[in-house]
């Protein structure tokens, strides 16, 4: 018999799950800020800014997140920083998240009718004023469901940081499995915890989207 009780396993997993939550929040908030900058660049009138944003988005969306994590982890140490896993994980996830959020939000901004841009520019607003006062407030409404939906991807993506040694739910699962030899139970509980984090987000994204569709139909 294993000296570990099921409660021991769950307790340790729950403790590690805190780090999954924290990392998710950091990546999501950081990614939101960087993503917003990228959104401005992507929808800007300047060709160079747009090209740069497209390159950024293509690079982060067009390569595996795991590679990005490795490159940050090893790359930053090359240029002289001794990066701990949490920093590489946080940075890589933030930039990865930003690329996806920028692209999701661009779709929302482009869903705003051209007339809104034309009307606001006829009122002598600058690009940033148009965005700030006219376009973004409208885009925000339709952006909420897909943004909440993407947060599920962020939570799941944090599992990859275990591979560069950040101790969160997945890494803890492997460590506990090695100590208890109960992979079925440990990974089963880990899956359950991820599910408990992600499913409410998925569901609320669906509900929000349905609500939005209904509201649109009644227009």
């Amino acid at each position: 018999m294993s000296p570990f009780t099921t409660w021991d396993i769950v307790r340790n997993l729950l403790f590690a799950a805190q780090w999954t939550v924290i990392l998710s929040l950091v990546a999501f908030i950081g990614g939101g800020v960087v993503g917003l900058l990228m959104l401005f660049a992507r929808t800007s009138k300047r060709v160079a800014a747009r090209r740069l944003a497209i390159l950024y988005i293509e690079l982060f969306q067009g390569t595996p997140l795991l590679m990005q994590l490795f490159l940050f982890f090893f790359g930053l140490s090359l240029i002289g920083f001794n990066v701990p896993p949490w920093l590489a994980a946080g940075l890589a996830l933030t930039l990865w998240t930003a690329a996806f959020l920028a692209e999701i939000w661009r779709g929302c901004v482009e869903a705003i009718p051209r007339g809104q841009w034309e009307a606001s520019s006829s009122l002598a607003m600058s690009y940033f004023e148009q965005m700030r006062y006219v376009v973004l407030p409208q885009a925000l409404r339709i952006a909420v469901p897909p943004t909440v939906g993407f947060s599920v991807q962020v939570v799941k993506a944090t599992a990859l940081t275990s591979i560069i040694g950040f101790v969160e739910l997945s890494k803890a699962s492997t460590m506990i499995t090695n100590a208890t030899f109960q992979p079925f139970v440990v990974y089963g509980f880990a899956a359950l915890m991820y599910f408990a984090l992600c499913w409410p987000l998925s569901k609320s994204s669906q509900l929000l989207e349905r609500k939005l569709n209904v509201a649109h139909r009644n227009h």
């Binding site: 067009g62 390569t63 595996p64 997140l65 795991l66 590679m67 990005q68 490795f70 490159l71 090893f74 790359g75 090359l78 240029i79 002289g80 599920v152 799941k156 993506a157 944090t158 599992a159 990859l160 275990s162 591979i163 997945s170 699962s173 492997t174 499995t177 109960q182 992979p183 079925f184 990974y187 089963g188 880990a190 899956a191 991820y194 599910f195 992600c198 499913w199 998925s202």
Partner: protein, 224 residues
């Protein structure tokens, strides 16, 4: 500290990368074909199939979509042997990919099916077809055509996700990079090469999907 990149040091490991590309391709190809097949089956159950199976399929789709692929892979490879199901690394990786893609594909394809105009069902019915005959001959192909770009993107996402299969010693591209950097400590170069390989594979895969689309769907336009 001045560090100069040296890709030349990787030349001798080219065969290992080649093997990695072959394994990642195999994972994607087999996982993609079987995963889309499973997705079609699940989408059928959820839209037109036996009602008794619907809660089971819904549960499967929700569980897979709300847990990380890494955990799914570890559960299959490390967890299943304890209930008597032992798989090789490659079998476990392919199973995990099929199960994962199946759930996402099911949702994507379902959306395509639900966008089918009612008149198509009615036309099939008025020609005395059974529900299954209507699904197979009338609904499925236009539904797939509607969501083909989304499905293509999902297969590429799953290919990127397959990088974690290196963690159960499947000798894919990531495994090759891990192996090489442990030998020559040229980690950054090794992962740059691996990243570029994934990038190229994704471009090829997208082209394959596009060509496949023009073969399966001879008409560019789907009637509203």
């Amino acid at each position: 500290m001045a560090y100069s990149l040296d890709f030349g040091a990787l030349a001798e490991y080219a065969p290992i990368f080649a093997k990695g590309v072959a394994v990642t391709s195999e994972l994607t190809l087999v996982g993609g074909v079987l995963g889309v097949g499973l997705g079609i089956l699940c989408a059928w159950v959820r839209t037109d199939g036996p009602k008794a199976l619907r809660p089971i399929v819904s549960l499967y789709v929700e569980v897979i979509r709300n847990t990380p692929f890494l955990i799914q892979l570890f559960f299959i490879f490390f967890g299943l042997p304890s209930i008597g199901v032992s798989l090789t690394e490659m079998q476990a990786a392919i199973l995990a990919m099929v199960v994962n893609l199946g759930a996402y594909a099911a949702e994507i394809i379902r959306a395509g099916i639900e966008a089918t105009p009612r008149g198509q069902f009615e036309a099939g019915a008025s020609l005395a077809m059974t529900r299954l005959q209507i699904f197979r001959n009338v609904v499925l192909v236009p539904a797939l055509q509607r969501i083909w770009p989304a499905l293509s993107s999902q297969i590429i996402i799953v290919m990127f996700g397959s990088a974690v299969c290196s963690q159960i010693a499947v000798e894919d591209i990531t495994f090759a990079a891990n192996f090489i950097q442990s030998r020559n400590f040229r980690a950054f170069e090794a992962y740059i090469v691996a990243t570029v390989l994934y990038l190229i594979l994704a471009l090829i895969l997208r082209q394959i999907m596009r060509s496949l689309g023009t073969i399966i769907f001879p008409r560019r336009r789907v009637v509203r």
